[in-house]
Structure formats: structure tokens, C-alpha cells
């Protein structure tokens, strides 16, 4: 759906071709496109305008480097400026011990979940975390935090009878200290930034517990409203950091730029999934490419490095080189890819592919292929040529697929083997033809 900024800028940038120097005139159309792209990514209207103006001042008068096109140069300037803006300030938390953290935000932004996730992260960093349930309004919010605290083995305090949030906070502080905990996280109720009564309430809590960190938890998909929200919370509570949640969706995250620009408060953490470990330190370069729709290439590379076993990969490369690649190897390769996450999330990180939606088929295909290979004996995996009709029938039954599916997989596997032999033999041209033919047949399963 979303075109990458680079795609979008295509025609505007073409007009810049052959330009020796960037001027206000030849930049105008390009910058208009940049502004629209930012607006479409939910960056606030005013923030977009200021951003474009800044980029313009930086661009105008620049000599175009010989090695790149003017377009590339402009995109680079935009990207760098975005990274700089998003990355201002430190993601580090206060060094105070005990470390007191107040979590605030709108309803449904993910405060309770983020509180538990941050608790878990701090535990990893050597703290003894404690969470305090200060949301007395949402039904069962206290239960939710208690369950998560138990699950992650964090200290926990709640007072189900009290309606006095300040008193609850103070009591929690005492309980945490008595329990010897040195990181205390206060989960608060969701509130609108314009709800004076509730803002006063959280201000009183703030005054009483004197937090070292005040983190605003905000949905990464927030719209133009993000500016008002961040501004009001910052004025009321002097925020020290932002936490962006639900970034495992496909929101472009323009709200982050708005909130960062308006408050100057650093983005410290991002929530990236349903599990409590899906919580990371913020990296501005990744979010910049996301806002611009340039794909999260760095993240992809890092993810691949983390999850793919280096030795396994080398072994595979060797096998590929020798064209000695059987179904067993294919299975382990499939599993490597799976470890990196869903196909959709991987595709989403690739440049120009951020809008591509895989239908569930690709993922299903992959699962089916895996099931088929797993239904084979070791001998069959190593020597697929022994697979006769009887064996194929058994495999199909075992994997819960039709025999044609088994046949198709084997046929495609044979083609792949053939290709590898050609690679080895250096018949590159022949291979290209072969690949074209394969494309017509729908390609390799799950690829």
C-alpha cells in the first residue's frame, strides 16, 4: 500500500537529473513530495512543514556529488536529518538507585504491558524490579499487572480497596524498599491529556513519589493527535522519555517524530510484540527508514545475524557449492528462515516491500513443505530418488496433504538441484533460462 518515499519521489527526482547544483527551484517539487509522504506517515502538519524547511536549507546550494544522483543525495540528506532528529538525547535511564519510573499515557496505549516488559528488561540488566498498580479505574487492570508480575517474577504491590492513588504510590514505594527492590515502576490509569481531574491526580502522585523517569507510553500508530498528547503530558509531568508501542504492526510511526519534535524528549524504548521480551531500546535509524518507507534493512540484517547459526550457514554454503544438497538440508534451511520470524515480518523489513502483504498462502506453503519433509524417513530425505509411489502415498498421508503436493515439492527440488549443478558447472546463462521457466510455474514452495 505505502509506496516508499523513494518510489514516490521517482518522477520528482527524475527532474533533478543532470542538475549540477541543488536550488530552491529545482528542489520545489521534490520537497512537496517529501511533505506529502511525511503527512501520509502521520507526521504532524506543522512538524512536517518545519522538517521540509530544514531539509531545504540544507539542500539548497549543495554541489551534487559525482558518484550519486541528485535524488540519492536528497534522500540521504532527508534520512540523515530524520535520524538526527529522532535520535537526539540519550536512551539511557537515570542511574539513580532506587530507580523510580512513572508510566503514563492515553487509554489502551499499552502502559500495563510495557510496565511488565520494562520490568523484565531491567531484571536482565541486574535490577530487582518492583511494579506498583496505580490504575484504580479500568476494571481488572490491577489483576492484569499482578498476573504479569507473577509471570516475570517481579515484586508487586496493589491496594484494591483504596481510591487514593497518591497513598497507593507511597505505600508501594515503602513496600518495594522493604522488599529490597531497586527499580520501582508505577503503572497508572489511562487518561486523556485534557482530563484536568485525572491529570491533577497523576501530578499529585508524581509529587509524592518523585520519579527519576517519567515515560509517556504511546501507540506507534497515533495520528495528528500525538502532538497534543505529548505536549500536555510534558507540560504536566516533565517527561523524561517516550515509549512507542505496537511497532510490530505496519504503522509508519510518524507520530514519533511529532512527539519528539514537540517535546524534545528522547524516545527510549519500543514495544514490538505480544511477548514480554518484545521490548527494545530505540534505534533512530530504523524508525527513520520506516517513516520514509525505506525498509528496515539494518534490523533485517541484525535479525538474520542473531538467528542464523553461523556454522550452519557455512555448512550450507559448502553444500551448495558442491551441489550436494538434499531434502534434509532444505528442511534445516526452511527452519532457519522460520527462526527469523514470520515471512510477513521479514518481507516488511525489506526496502520497497514494506507495503507488500503476503497472503497466508506463502506461510502455509512453508508449513506444508516442512510437514512433507518431516514425514520422510532420514534415508528418503538424503536420497529423494528412492521415493516411489508407495512411499509418496505414505508421506502424503503422514503430512496430511495430497500426493500431488508431494510430487510438486519433489519436482521443484529436482529443479533446484539441477540449477545448483549448473552453478557449479558455470552455466550461468542456462541457469537464467531455467529460472525464468521456474518463475512461470510459481517458483519454489514458500519462497
Amino acid at each position: 500500500m505505502f509506496e516508499s518515499l523513494t518510489d514516490k519521489l521517482g518522477s520528482a527526482l527524475r527532474n533533478l537529473r543532470g542538475v549540477g547544483k541543488l536550488t530552491e527551484e529545482n528542489m520545489a517539487e521534490t520537497l512537496q513530495e517529501v511533505r506529502t509522504a511525511l503527512l501520509a506517515a502521520d507526521v504532524h502538519f506543522k512538524v512536517s512543514r518545519e522538517f521540509v524547511e530544514r531539509v531545504q536549507t540544507q539542500c539548497v546550494g549543495q554541489e551534487v556529488l559525482k558518484s550519486v544522483t541528485p535524488g540519492q543525495q536528497v534522500v540521504k540528506i532527508i534520512n540523515d536529518e530524520l535520524v538526527r532528529l529522532l535520535g537526539e538525547g540519550s536512551t539511557a535511564l537515570s542511574a539513580a538507585r532506587p530507580l523510580k519510573i512513572l508510566m503514563v499515557g492515553l487509554h489502551g496505549s499499552g502502559k500495563t504491558t510495557s510496565t511488565a516488559k520494562l520490568g523484565k528488561l531491567l531484571k536482565k540488566r541486574g535490577y530487582r524490579p518492583f511494579v506498583a498498580a496505580c490504575d484504580i479505574y479500568r476494571p481488572a487492570a490491577i489483576d492484569q499487572l499482578e498476573i504479569l508480575a507473577k509471570q516475570e517474577d517481579l515484586g508487586f504491590y496493589a491496594d484494591r480497596t483504596s481510591q487514593d492513588v497518591t497513598a497507593i504510590g507511597a505505600a508501594a514505594l515503602a513496600a518495594a524498599q522493604a522488599a529490597g527492590c531497586d527499580a520501582i515502576l508505577f503503572d497508572t490509569a489511562g487518561r486523556l491529556q485534557i482530563d484536568q481531574e485525572l491529570i491533577e491526580e497523576v501530578k499529585r502522585l508524581h509529587a509524592r513519589i518523585q520519579p527519576d523517569e517519567v515515560l509517556l507510553v504511546a501507540d506507534g500508530a497515533l495520528g495528528q493527535e500525538a502532538v497534543n498528547v505529548a505536549k500536555a503530558f510534558h507540560e504536566a509531568l516533565s517527561l523524561t522519555g517516550l515509549v512507542l508501542t505496537k511497532l510490530d504492526g505496519d504503522a509508519r510511526g510518524g507520530a514519533a517524530l511529532s512527539m519528539k519534535s514537540i517535546t524534545g524528549v528522547p524516545i527510549k524504548f519500543v514495544g514490538t510484540g505480544e511477548k514480554t521480551e518484545d521490548f527494545d531500546t530505540f534505534y533512530p535509524d530504523r524508525l527513520a527508514s520506516r517513516i520514509l518507507g525505506m525498509g528496515d534493512v539494518v534490523s533485517l540484517v541484525e535479525k538474520a545475524q542473531e538467528n542464523i547459526d553461523q556454522k550452519e550457514a557455512e555448512k550450507m554454503a559448502e553444500k551448495l557449492r558442491k551441489a550436494d544438497f538434499n531434502l534434509e538440508d532444505f528442511l534445516s534451511q526452511l527452519q532457519q528462515v522460520k527462526k527469523m520470524g514470520s515471512m510477513q515480518s521479514i518481507i516488511g523489513m525489506m526496502p520497497g516491500m514494506s507495503g507488500v502483504k503476503l497472503d497466508d498462502n506463502a506461510e502455509k506453503q512453508m508449513g506444508r513443505t516442512e510437514a512433507i519433509i518431516k514425514s520422510m524417513t532420514n534415508q528418503e530425505r538424503r536420497k529423494p530418488e528412492i521415493l516411489n509411489g508407495n512411499r509418496r502415498q505414505r508421506i502424503a498421508a503422514g503430512a496430511g496433504v495430497k500426493i500431488v503436493d508431494v510430487n510438486q515439492l519433489l519436482k521443484q527440488f529436482q529443479q533446484m538441484q539441477k540449477m545448483m549443478k549448473m552453478m557449479k558447472g558455470g552455466g550461468a546463462k542456462k541457469m537464467m533460462r531455467q529460472m525464468e521457466a521456474m518463475k512461470g510455474k510459481g517458483g519454489f514452495p514458500g519462497m
Binding site: A140, A251, D360
Partner: protein, 307 residues
């Protein structure tokens, strides 16, 4: 009707009530000029109407201005309202019992934190006020304490809730709740589901399972498949709606959290793309703050036109 409009205005009105306030004086009797057009552009963008609708409204006002340099702010507002009404034509959803379906099933789906559980409870209360009988099914068995949340609402508003426990099978709860609603002769069954990001195919698959299991009871269930969208979100809510529509076939929208300063303009974008009717808006924390969507009231509140 006036009461409803007032609710809309109050809901929207806590600080900057309408676009007109942002463009202070623009929609008055004053004449339009280039700078007021720019202010208008800003107001439309900051209401999350999106690039397409904003450009359409601006284009019509600019065209009118070209023809008539004496164009007044009020006239411009009226033109904007007309464009918005045209874009939203047919967007009002009216909830009715599906003929032959006992109970009529409404499934609430959406991303995490959009307000499904709260909306389910409020809708139950509203239907009860209208003299209908209902049962709530607590099918969010994933989020810690979501079941307890719905149960607490049930106690507060005196609504019947069928639930199992966190970690249980959501589809099984839906099945049992349908059976219970049938046996007790209830008009509606409201199914609250777990929040899921639309980009997670395995979680989308779970939704399909709830549907399949409900269909064992009644092949037409769930008759209503409503997406609950947070009104303060931006353009991504359109992506959300598209993805849920594709895998679940949405029949309606509920837009929540419009009691802040956000204008909920994204609902216009969603309707534009998918033509799914909007049934209710969430305009506050109380049970009665879930209000039927009215194009007229919405458009008037947005442009600050009085009734």
C-alpha cells in the same frame, strides 16, 4: 436529535471543539483569502482526514473562491461539510436483529487497546436499555485479566457474561456462549475477542476459527463483524481495517476515544476505501457515551456548524 448533537459537540468539545475553533474566525462572516486557506489545510490535516479527503475539500473551496472572491468563511464551511457528507453518504449503520438468527451475533474485533472490551460492555448496556436481551462472551482469553475486566463490567451494568479463563480456548467460549444465548432466548450475543495486530497471520487465523465454530451453531453467525478502531490513530487505521476486512469480512465499524481532542478523521478514510458502515462512536468513559453514528451530527460538529 438535539441531545445527540450536543453529546457529539460535548464529546468533541473539551478543548478545541471543532475545526472552526482551530481556524478561529475563518468560518465566520469574514472573507476567505490565501492565508485562511492555508489555515484550513492545516485544520483538515490535523483532523486526520488524510491526504485524499483534505485535498478534495480544499479543491472545492478553492474552486468556489476562484468563482467568487467575496466567498465568506461560513460558505466555505458549508462547502466543506457538503464534501464530507458526500464522502460519507451511506455510512450510517443501523443495528437490527437479523431475521431468523436467534441470537444475532456481534463479533468485536480489532488491534490491541482499541477498546473492544469496554465497547462490548457499553453496547450490551445500550441494547438492554432498548429492551433487548443480551449475553456477553469473554473470548479474549489471551490478555491477562481481560476476562475479569469484562466480568467486572457485567457486574456493574448488570449484564450476563459467559467466560472461561485466561489461556482457555476462545472459540470454545464463543460456542458455549451461543448455546447459552439460544437456550435462554436472548436477542443478541456480543463476542469480545482478543486484540491482535492485523499483521499477524496466526492471530488472524484464530479469528477465523471463532467464526467457524460459531457457524456450527448457526451458519450465518456472526451476523455482525465489527472492527473497533481507536479514533486517535492516524492513517494506519485504514491499513488495519483493510487487513481485518480481507480476512474476516467486516460489516461495521465502531470508532472509540473521540472524547479527546482528536477529530477521528481516519473514519472518513476507512469509509472512503471500504464502504463499511459506522455504527457507533465512543464519546466518553460512561456506558451511555457510546452513541450511534450520525453523519449530520458528525459533519456539523467537525465544521462547527450549529443545528
Amino acid at each position: 436529535m438535539f441531545g445527540l448533537f450536543k453529546k457529539f459537540k460535548d464529546g468533541f468539545a473539551k478543548t478545541v471543539s471543532a475545526i472552526s475553533d482551530k481556524t478561529r474566525g475563518l468560518f465566520s462572516g469574514r472573507k476567505i483569502d490565501a492565508s485562511s486557506l492555508e489555515t484550513l489545510e492545516e485544520a483538515l490535516y490535523t483532523a486526520d482526514f488524510g491526504v485524499e479527503t483534505t485535498e478534495e475539500v480544499l479543491a472545492e473551496i478553492k474552486a468556489a473562491y476562484k468563482k467568487d472572491k467575496e466567498l465568506r468563511g461560513q460558505q466555505a464551511a458549508a462547502i466543506g461539510a457538503e464534501v464530507l457528507k458526500r464522502v460519507l453518504a451511506g455510512a450510517e449503520g443501523k443495528l437490527e436483529k437479523s431475521p431468523g438468527a436467534n441470537p444475532t451475533v456481534i463479533a468485536m474485533i480489532g488491534v490491541n487497546g482499541s477498546g473492544k472490551t469496554t465497547t462490548s460492555a457499553k453496547l450490551g448496556w445500550r441494547l438492554k436499555q432498548d429492551g433487548k436481551t443480551i449475553i456477553l462472551a469473554a473470548c479474549d482469553t489471551f490478555r491477562a485479566a481481560a476476562v475479569e475486566q469484562l466480568k467486572t463490567w457485567g457486574q456493574r451494568l448488570d449484564l450476563e457474561v459467559i467466560a472461561s479463563h485466561t489461556g482457555g480456548d476462545a472459540a470454545a467460549v464463543a460456542f458455549d456462549a451461543w448455546q447459552a444465548a439460544k437456550a435462554r432466548g436472548r436477542d443478541y450475543l456480543i463476542v469480545d475477542t482478543a486484540g491482535r495486530l492485523h499483521t499477524k497471520s496466526n492471530l488472524m487465523e484464530e479469528l477465523a476459527k471463532i467464526r467457524r465454530v460459531l457457524q456450527k451453531n448457526d451458519p450465518t453467525a456472526p451476523q455482525h463483524r465489527w472492527l473497533v478502531v481507536d479514533g486517535s490513530l492516524g492513517s494506519n487505521s485504514i491499513e488495519q481495517a483493510k487487513a481485518f476486512h480481507q480476512s474476516f469480512g467486516l460489516t461495521g465499524l465502531v470508532v472509540t476515544k473521540l472524547d479527546g481532542t482528536s477529530r477521528g478523521g481516519a473514519l472518513v478514510g476507512i469509509y472512503r476505501q471500504l464502504k463499511i458502515p459506522i455504527y457507533f462512536l465512543g464519546l466518553g468513559e460512561k456506558a451511555e457515551d457510546l452513541q450511534p453514528f450520525s453523519i449530520d451530527s458528525y459533519v456539523k460538529a467537525v465544521f462547527g456548524l450549529d443545528e
